[in-house]
Symmetry: D3
Subunit: 285 residues, 6 copies
Amino acid sequence: MAIGCPADSRKEGAKMNQTRSVWLQELTWEDVAAYLKADDIILFPIGSTEQHGPAGPLGVDSYAAIALAEDAARKAQVLVVPPLWFGDSAHHLDFPGTISLKTETLTAVAKDVIRSLARHGFKKIIVINGHKGTNIAALVTACRNLHQDELPDVLLALVDPLFLAKGIAHIKDAVEHHAGELEISHVWYKYPHLVKKENLTPGQVDLPPILSPFVHEDLFGKAGDSIEIFWNSREQRAFTPSGSFSDSSKASPNKGRQYHDHMVQNLVKFIAWLRQYKGPVGRSK
Amino acid sequence: MAIGCPADSRKEGAKMNQTRSVWLQELTWEDVAAYLKADDIILFPIGSTEQHGPAGPLGVDSYAAIALAEDAARKAQVLVVPPLWFGDSAHHLDFPGTISLKTETLTAVAKDVIRSLARHGFKKIIVINGHKGTNIAALVTACRNLHQDELPDVLLALVDPLFLAKGIAHIKDAVEHHAGELEISHVWYKYPHLVKKENLTPGQVDLPPILSPFVHEDLFGKAGDSIEIFWNSREQRAFTPSGSFSDSSKASPNKGRQYHDHMVQNLVKFIAWLRQYKGPVGRSK
Amino acid sequence: MAIGCPADSRKEGAKMNQTRSVWLQELTWEDVAAYLKADDIILFPIGSTEQHGPAGPLGVDSYAAIALAEDAARKAQVLVVPPLWFGDSAHHLDFPGTISLKTETLTAVAKDVIRSLARHGFKKIIVINGHKGTNIAALVTACRNLHQDELPDVLLALVDPLFLAKGIAHIKDAVEHHAGELEISHVWYKYPHLVKKENLTPGQVDLPPILSPFVHEDLFGKAGDSIEIFWNSREQRAFTPSGSFSDSSKASPNKGRQYHDHMVQNLVKFIAWLRQYKGPVGRSK
Amino acid sequence: MAIGCPADSRKEGAKMNQTRSVWLQELTWEDVAAYLKADDIILFPIGSTEQHGPAGPLGVDSYAAIALAEDAARKAQVLVVPPLWFGDSAHHLDFPGTISLKTETLTAVAKDVIRSLARHGFKKIIVINGHKGTNIAALVTACRNLHQDELPDVLLALVDPLFLAKGIAHIKDAVEHHAGELEISHVWYKYPHLVKKENLTPGQVDLPPILSPFVHEDLFGKAGDSIEIFWNSREQRAFTPSGSFSDSSKASPNKGRQYHDHMVQNLVKFIAWLRQYKGPVGRSK
Amino acid sequence: MAIGCPADSRKEGAKMNQTRSVWLQELTWEDVAAYLKADDIILFPIGSTEQHGPAGPLGVDSYAAIALAEDAARKAQVLVVPPLWFGDSAHHLDFPGTISLKTETLTAVAKDVIRSLARHGFKKIIVINGHKGTNIAALVTACRNLHQDELPDVLLALVDPLFLAKGIAHIKDAVEHHAGELEISHVWYKYPHLVKKENLTPGQVDLPPILSPFVHEDLFGKAGDSIEIFWNSREQRAFTPSGSFSDSSKASPNKGRQYHDHMVQNLVKFIAWLRQYKGPVGRSK
Amino acid sequence: MAIGCPADSRKEGAKMNQTRSVWLQELTWEDVAAYLKADDIILFPIGSTEQHGPAGPLGVDSYAAIALAEDAARKAQVLVVPPLWFGDSAHHLDFPGTISLKTETLTAVAKDVIRSLARHGFKKIIVINGHKGTNIAALVTACRNLHQDELPDVLLALVDPLFLAKGIAHIKDAVEHHAGELEISHVWYKYPHLVKKENLTPGQVDLPPILSPFVHEDLFGKAGDSIEIFWNSREQRAFTPSGSFSDSSKASPNKGRQYHDHMVQNLVKFIAWLRQYKGPVGRSK
């Protein structure tokens, strides 16, 4: 069930009456108080609303974060904060429907949410960023500074498929960049009606002439010597009029399942590790 | 269907294949580009994740905003931005699970989202705030200043049940304040499994001794001479240990339906008015 | 006597030697130290310098705040902070002479002044906003957040004629909006030479075609279902070239006196209530 | 007449009906529009509310700015913005009654007021800072950056007795520092009832042992090699329990008159110079 | 020669009179004007002042950035901005001598410097960050947003040894983390007197028990599935009392030379590529 | 030796092995820890990169700060922070090569550096600003507020040749303003190869017609009655196309030596005074 969707909850029916929902927004404050007596871990999914080519819905990154958070939470029996649907997506703003928070706004939102959680006694907060590299500057800024300055006794972790799925990326057939094979497969697997399969595209932007021979072409591949050149939304619209950077034609629900399960399994392992962890991080006093 | 919930969309099945979803995050950028050729109105639901007493889920205000936006959008055939689940809820922070954005953060998020929409050509943007008075300072600040300084040709409107439901409030039996009869009824009607009916409470906080004889007791009632005294979360926890300010025992799905339908009807009328509106607002150049 | 005006003080002559001025700026720091041994209440008048039609001086809102603060202070024997003459008036900026602080600047000023007062031991600080709805977002933001985050043991209250004069508004003949009958009467009564009586106007802007049928037309009247549309200064200049929104032709010093006295009386009652108040607000520790 | 004081205006009676008030807040927007057809100069007095020893009222710096602005404006026939009563006075905060804006807040207020004036067509804006050295960082920051970045065609000038009265300072008998002979004389001359003559004091803080041999002791004297050491309000209270830094016992209305007239004369000359000035400053386009 | 050091320049004597210095600060504005007639590339070295274990000087990252910028500039005949010696080093603040800018301050400095350069006509600006991962969030934020919002026609690139030296990292013997073999070798090669060879240490912090099995241990190694946990300065001091994270005992000037030359060569190639580059990046208008 | 220049350090050879470098960046954190056991004074040189006419390098102000800090540090045996090469130089931005930080950015950098130092136990921090009047607003703001709000037990001092060299200024032949005789002499003496002697100029801008008869013409001369008018970079380029404000033709290394030695001597005296100082400043607890 995603994000407080009643229909879905109704389907899960009886179970929901027994097993508490993992979503914070569906609980009363007394439910949360009860949870905090026994546990102190919570997940915070952050995505984006930005163009993902002709086949992917604008919410791809948010759906990725939601799916990972929800499934890991159920398996590991922890809670999930309602998702933030907006990220740092300025370089996509020339494609209609993209919504972008300024980098500082995203940092501020992440800080405020984490501060609120810490106040209630959550001590291990895992930010799940949904395959969205440009969110990372804002989220690292939020987490690192909060832990240094305000919340030394709260452990903050940042997860992103870009880093969590290295070990499964070999299943893909194409070089993967924005709106690529794996992230489209991921949404296809979890929310099949949201992918426009007829629009999947073998197109691949040839990046080195645009971003130098030092570009890092495959986000899941081994990087060689690289230098980052920053492009803006107008330039992006010029070099990829469809919005897709890489070949999504080999995307499939089956790849999405493997990719998703690999990450959920990692998250569950990580949460288990956190449960037995004694510091030093988050125990600095 | 709420917020990109696949189960629900599946239920709506065939219709969804024909009629485009109203939710931006479920569309591709090309869908939005097509919409913008014919229309320029969009709704932006903003709620909160804050305690709503022993019976209401933390997401009450968000569910209110989502329900109003979604149903009005379907009836009026306009689009909806994915919801913001976080509001300005600091005075509830002593109740576990409450998440609060700073006032300035909420203003920043609202501004960034509206700027993004305006860039794509949305010219009439309706912010739907879900029964959440403390969000209003931040949202008024965002909308008024954006329209004055940056977006003179975009019409911005702000909706809240506190103001939109005056004409139907007579159906309630009790004085209404936080976590009161009407907002609980609203969620009960739209998302029945999320209300803990067994926890509805006739308790009513006696506000004048706490907030002076000049307090405005009934948020839907006629105000007399009033003065605002500001209370904080520790004080709130002290004067209402349950988190409920007013009697919710008479809440019912039926009242929720009347309340909801009244507001959706108003929104649909307002959108119709906007469609024929020629200015001067939003036509200042 | 207004704002440290020596002529006026001279007039009050002997009395001033006996009875301390109510204005902070006229006292030495030792006078204030003496006051704080016995009392902890202070008033802070905030107005604006913005167009008030062809008959009202730019300082109308400031004069309202000053008059209320000064007279209530004398009657209740409390102190008054020197006035802030500038408010959040951006939507009037197309009329010469209007001065506007950004919303955030106004919040910052209010916070800094209140912090300074709290540091000295003032525990009950009443902000008196002079009939200036657009200041309210900034002032609520300042007061609510200060009390939540920094000054839990200081009671902050916000007063505005929009809310404090509901019970007397029936004396007016016209619908009241900006530069309307009551606020002009108020200044006329207290500062008669500042109103250009020959410029009073029966003109009334027909707001529903401009701001939708859901506009709240009479600021002192009972609101029906309403939605806020934000207009900017260029639009305002277009729909009311004179700057007056509503009929001021029935303004009179007599109405001003009734209106003023009603509010001063309320303020005196409120201060009396504060004097005996034991919490919980401002006693949160 | 000071700051919208009705009594005083009444005294000036008939004249006021003929000669427009110099104070912006007493005029209608149409009066200002008329002024702007013929002139483009305006004065903006900024002071403080801060301790000035046992004899001086908290408003000394504001009264200085008001008196200079008002008298220069009358003589030169220009307008005056309502005064800002609050300055950057943090180092006085250990004395009751002192109100301090943060440096950034003061910069923001000054910028907002100047921006508003520039928008209406004021092209030469003179900030009159009332003998208040610690305001200068904020005001220089505001003026210099506005003129560089936003208002290249507006001439901004900053006046302070510390710099404008060098040529008359020889009339004083004592070394002058905070709450000293000249500024007390100034208020005594203009607002005699506000000085507590019985509290004038010959006390002089011996600054070199406190602030090094490189301290600049006499604010109006020739500086030798100097280094600035910053002290805070607690330290100030410790080294001058009365709040006075220098001997005020020789203060007199007569010295105040000479000091005041010298500066008013300078201001009138400066305004005359501005009237014939053709650039390059403020003519950068 | 580093950073405008006269001794060094004197040594280079005659050459300097013929060949212009590459350092901006050593040139007159007319020299820069002449350069801009022929070229539009400039390098901006950014480092840190932070602990680098018992053997490395606090300036290691700055020396790395300076050495790379200076040598690449000489070979490619481009200019270099004076270095920024301060970075985002909060997690090292428990070691004396570390200086840290807030993330937002570092972003602001980078933006201001780049804006200044762009104003003069520099069109390709290469930020060289000296092996300092925690600077990256701030610098990416600066560059990406400037290029999106303010400087669409300026190409901004970001270089860091972490990414530019992947192809040479195989020369090291140890896992490399903070104060490791390669960065110590780098300084040793270029500034041999600044490394305390007697303090090189084989110590290696065992990170997985501290930062989870998902830690990325070798900054130059291939990452597996990883999750970032944020630690603060107190925790760091606890888990590495010497400040060194990894074995520096195999550091040598020879390794430093290979590492340095590899990167300088890459930079020279990149600058050559930039010289012939026609867009689309930086040509968005 | 300037700023971590290895060549120079090598020259000082043996001495450096015995006597620790005065530059923080050349030390290990353990060296700094050792220093802090015995001393708590440190110097922080701040300059600018801005045009200094046809003869002076862009780094003149930085070189001044570096030279003063380095020589005073060696004589007084204290440490020096690596220099900040960037200042508040917006009014020079129309001359190529000038780099300017916003006033707020400069304040932020100064605050962050000082906070870092204070954290390690430095109790007396001397900011040495290199003949750069426009930096002063930012630096005063940083120092005064830090000492008031955050670091009451740290003594902060601000030095600038404008104030420290009053007693030696008589050696100059010309009126001194930007890029004038003394500051050029200073760099000439310390870094002779950086001054283009062939470009020294007798030109003197006639300031009174530009900045009013109330301009303060000679920065080292006695000020008469003065008023500050703010000019921007475009205006500056117009009134001094060469960038020089005053006659530098009489500059000489000998004058530079006298000027430099006078200030270094003052600094050494001041440091000696600080060493025996017992408060009250910096001892406020």
